[in-house]
Symmetry: C2
Subunit: 434 residues, 2 copies
């Protein structure tokens, strides 16, 4: 997505996968755990609806903790409800290798987005231990809070607060559809997990990782189309999220002449037309999405007086993302005919390039395991991008059937997932011994 | 709205208002009753949210029944939950004069739409009785069930079933936003009113009215703009309601190339653009409204796979309403690029003209009372239009401040309402003695 990236030659790679490690990754155990997690929030068509800081989320975390504790890891939670499971290193004071993802799903999501990265991290650590291997550095498995932003927008709150990108109180007033604030939901969850040991928030002291690596499904079609096993993620395209609030006047649908209306739905249509023109990209790299629309009073025979809709804008090139994103407010204002509107930017993540350390280690591990890999940028954002300022970071992708994600039909096979976890285990073991 | 209608000359009018009747209409009592009703479902900004067949609706009905019983009227309810309050005539077997409106409101409605027509009908009958007058015919005050259609679409279910326009089971499966069906809500309400005497549904036998008259706020700006007191309603423009279901495919907002998406929100925008072209009317008489939009999964970083939106189309000319309405499905299909769509017509009411009897009587009463009136068509639909095939029908309008209705700021002054009720009382007395 960010243009071709030179492929490293095999001669620069290390190949240090211990022979017992790949076989210690248990494909069946990992699949059974994923299917067990998928029952918590199961929706029709193999889907999952498990929002952050809900009872289902708490149940999923307890299940994970049970597995991790049995495997000999120790548990801690920070004030953002980020969950850590620690494998001790031969040098307990050394900077740990951090690996994980998130456990929350989209409202109409699938069984793999996020949760696989957490289950795979646990599986990788367990495989290292089961194979009788040791590591110089500790390894910490992490489950970041509210990556999806489906219940409380924006996403990545846990990793943003942990990394110091934003203060942990930034989203206190953000409310879900039922009016519950993020702060209230967080406090409820922390109270329900009062029995879990607490740790300070952030990469402070010995908690600063030496590296971060996140396993995730691709959420795009490239690996499947080229029949590849592993995506070596080199960076993440940038995202800017906006909310547009259109204010007009409610009128009776039968009596108010069309020319005199301040119809917020019609104004939204005009605005989207103008934004489509602004964001038109012959190269089809820019991503512009209006995914959420709320209309008031939302009744068929009343002219709408208020519409709120979201804009999700992404591009791998920081200059283009900046230029197009900065033009949104002006484009909205210029499109208005009868209503007023405000544009609020809710989330900004400029394009991110990972340092070489982790992508190189992932590529070397894939090669050592005889898997076919591709260097690629991520179209979706991930917690990993907020780790970049903290430590060398990277991601491992596995194929997504049909490129589909954020949908119940999202699918990656048990074999494909196990291959990804073998690469993760080899990479984590490698990094934890450097 | 239907073009200028020749004003009748004063010489053709009768003037038979008994001198004691206007003073017997109690402006303060009527206003106090309206404000009492407005507390049942009160919302900020002087608004009312009182949906049909809710606990609030039942409370409002009990209040009305209390007032009517104290005034000496008798109560009955039919199987559609239409409520009747009867003043006996000197000839109890004579066809009654029927007058009333509805008690449900829009979800973000005001204090006058509907409820004033019921309170005014009771006030008119009570004034006739308080003035010591008698009538040859009985007078029945009616409160029709679910006129607004805000909870269960479409509106006018009570009058449609009563008049034989539709079977009383037509809407059994229609569900509100919480999944409660109309049938279930109706049965719950009927059970809660099991103590009220039942009457057969419809204009059967002695229940067939000699005339129907409905008092209502104008919901448009004409009377206020011309500083007039009374609208003599000559007919009602036609309405056709449609639901459009757009089906696409959900995708990740960051990964799916825009050119490959089946984005239901973008398809809705294309459809609305095409419908705007179809319904463009230089004369500004056609009313085209998209008032309700529901998006799925409605999350900012997922491409929408489903959008459902409503179309409300109105025109006083039956030919134009037929032509434009019939073109909607084809226009929707022609606008599609990446999704599929279905168009369902949910409600059809062709334009209605009232027979001369009631409008003439209203105009004569207004003139006799020294009030300034205007013959006009109604832009909104009303229960009255379903009475037209049953008996001579008509409506009385009073001014709406700023032409606003279906909104908390809807307002008509106590004086304006009392003037309308005096005209109603005089008209009902007149018709009940013919």
């Amino acid at each position: 997505m960010a243009g071709p990236i030179p492929r490293r030659t095999a001669s620069t790679m290390t190949n240090r996968v211990p022979p017992t490690l790949p076989a210690a990754v248990d494909e069946s155990r990992q699949w059974a755990r994923l299917m067990g997690m998928a029952m918590l929030g199961e929706i029709p068509g193999d889907g999952v609806d498990r929002a952050a800081l809900t009872l289902l989320d708490r149940q999923a975390r307890r299940l994970l903790i049970e597995w991790a504790t049995e495997a000999g890891l120790t548990v801690s939670v920070d004030e953002m409800n980020n969950l850590f499971l620690r494998h001790e290193g031969l040098e307990p004071g050394a900077a740990p290798v951090l690996t994980g993802s998130h456990m929350d799903s989209q409202p109409n999501g699938g069984r793999f987005d996020g949760i696989w990265g957490v289950v795979a991290a646990l599986e990788a650590v367990q495989a290292i231990r089961d194979a009788g291997l040791t590591t110089r550095r500790p390894i910490e498995v992490v489950a970041w809070t509210n990556e999806e932003g489906g219940r409380f927008a924006p996403g990545c709150m846990g990793s943003m607060a942990w990394s110091g990108h934003s203060a942990s109180t930034t989203w206190d007033g953000v409310a879900d559809l039922h009016g519950t604030t993020f702060r209230a939901a967080l406090e409820e969850q922390m109270a329900a997990e009062a029995d879990l040991p607490r740790r300070p928030l952030g990469p402070v002291g010995a908690a600063r990782p030496s590296a971060y690596i996140e396993a995730h499904i691709e959420q795009g079609p490239l690996l499947e189309a080229d029949m590849l096993d592993i995506g070596v993620v080199t960076g993440i395209q940038g995202s800017r999220w906006f909310v547009v609030d259109v204010a007009g006047r409610s009128d009776h649908a039968g009596t108010a002449p069309v020319s005199l209306r301040q119809d917020a739905v019609q104004e939204m249509v005009r605005i989207v037309n103008a934004l489509n023109t602004l964001t038109h990209d012959p190269a089809d790299v820019l991503r512009f999405t209006v995914g959420r629309v709320e209309v008031h009073p939302n009744t068929s025979n009343s002219v709408a007086d208020r519409v709120r809709f979201t804009i999700d804008l992404r591009h791998p090139d920081a200059d283009i993302l900046r230029e197009k994103g900065d033009a949104i407010a002006g484009t909205v204002q210029a499109a208005l005919r009868h209503c007023t509107a405000t544009v609020t930017e809710r989330f900004t993540a400029m394009p991110t390039a990972f340092q070489e350390l982790v992508p190189d280690a992932v590529e070397a591990a894939a090669e050592a395991l005889g898997l076919r890999s591709l260097r690629m940028a991520s179209g979706a954002f991930h917690d990993a991008q907020f780790l970049v300022p903290v430590c060398p970071s990277g991601m491992i992708f596995v194929p997504s059937r049909g490129g589909i994600s954020h949908h119940p039909s999202e699918y990656t096979s048990p074999e494909q997932l196990a291959a990804g976890t073998r690469v993760l285990a080899a990479t984590v073991w490698d990094l934890a011994n450097r």
